[in-house]
């Protein structure tokens, strides 16, 4: 599609319209807020809902292992439900990304793609460790409990801490640190309670991030 004529073709009249300072301030704030909302890759409401869904998934995993002696791991029905949840969450994320990034270009967008690759690689980190533990004959408590519950929080969280620090994205930095800390605690809570602790840590991190972005955007609009 022909996006535009070039700017040299310009022509018509100025729409004019004198602004008083109050009107200018209102227009600035309204336009900035709306633009930030439209460009956001992590809309606060969607992010907060995802935090609740993640918490529900981890609680379901925890309930499915509660009272197991010996520990054998979450049941397949719950694992399937979690995968469906992850698939739906990913689809929502892709849709939000496409809408926010429509028509946006430049070096920062390329950097975002590189960050996406780094994130995908780190997501694969914990299952690889899990596979190695299984290969060496580690117990089910480790292979199907502590490591899959806490590992992703530590590996992915650490990646997010680094990414956030490089962009000075302090809401993400704080949220990712909380997730890593929660993962560290979950490692020592045993195979059953590790799921619950990990779920709570993720919920706190994700909802905290949503709140942090609201605060940051409000501050930026007022600046």
């Amino acid at each position: 599609m022909n996006d535009t004529p070039d700017l040299e073709q310009a022509a018509t009249a100025d729409s004019g319209g004198a602004l008083d300072p109050r009107e200018a301030a209102r227009l600035l704030e309204q336009t900035s807020r709306e633009a930030r909302r439209q460009f956001s890759l992590t809309p606060p409401l969607v992010t907060a809902v995802m935090g609740l869904v993640i918490l529900a998934a981890y609680v379901a995993l925890w309930l499915s292992v509660l009272g197991q002696h010996p520990y054998s791991g979450p049941n397949l029905g719950v694992i399937a439900l979690v995968y469906v949840t992850v698939a739906v969450g990913s689809a929502v994320g892709v849709k939000v990304y496409q809408r926010a990034r429509a028509g946006v270009s430049g070096s920062a967008v390329a950097l975002g793609a590189a960050e996406g690759v780094a994130l995908l690689v780190s997501i694969g980190g914990s299952p690889v460790i899990q596979g190695a533990l299984h290969y060496y004959g580690a117990s089910s408590a480790l292979v199907y409990g502590v490591i899959p519950a806490a590992g992703p929080l530590i590996v992915v969280g650490t990646t997010l801490v680094g990414m956030a620090a490089s962009k000075a994205d302090w809401p993400q930095f704080g949220a990712a640190l909380a997730v890593v800390a929660g993962g560290g605690v979950a490692l020592f809570m045993g195979p059953i309670n590790a799921w619950l602790v990990a779920g709570i840590a993720l919920f706190v991190g994700v909802v905290g991030y949503a709140a942090g972005t609201v605060w940051r955007d409000r501050a930026a609009v007022r600046a």
Partner: protein
């Protein structure tokens, strides 16, 4: 009094909205003409006129890629444009503080 303090190139409804929208993106990021037009709900002719004025003073850059039906124009805020908007915001705040 207002006209003496506020940058007249920015102190216009459409141009103020153009700059505020582009300033919501990180530095080094541009926006397509079509998306900008959709967001601001301006006619192409009106938007072009304002963009040209802002580009002439170095507040914006535009880059056209492709030819014919595949052409695409991207608009980006320059460092000078971002600084001018910051100065404008500060001036508005001072004026409101004095009211």
């Amino acid at each position: 009094m207002t006209a003496e303090v506020l940058d007249p190139l920015i102190h216009e409804q459409a141009r103020l909205r153009i700059l505020a929208t582009l300033a919501a993106l990180p530095e080094g990021v541009a926006l397509s003409f079509t998306r900008l037009q959709d967001m601001l709900e301006l006619t192409p002719g009106n938007l072009i006129t304002h963009l040209r004025k802002l580009e002439d003073v170095g507040y914006l850059t535009s880059k056209k890629t492709g030819n014919g039906t595949a052409s695409r124009t991207s608009i980006g805020l320059t460092v000078r444009g971002r600084a001018a908007l910051d100065t404008y915001k500060a001036a508005v705040r001072r004026l409101l503080g004095g009211l």
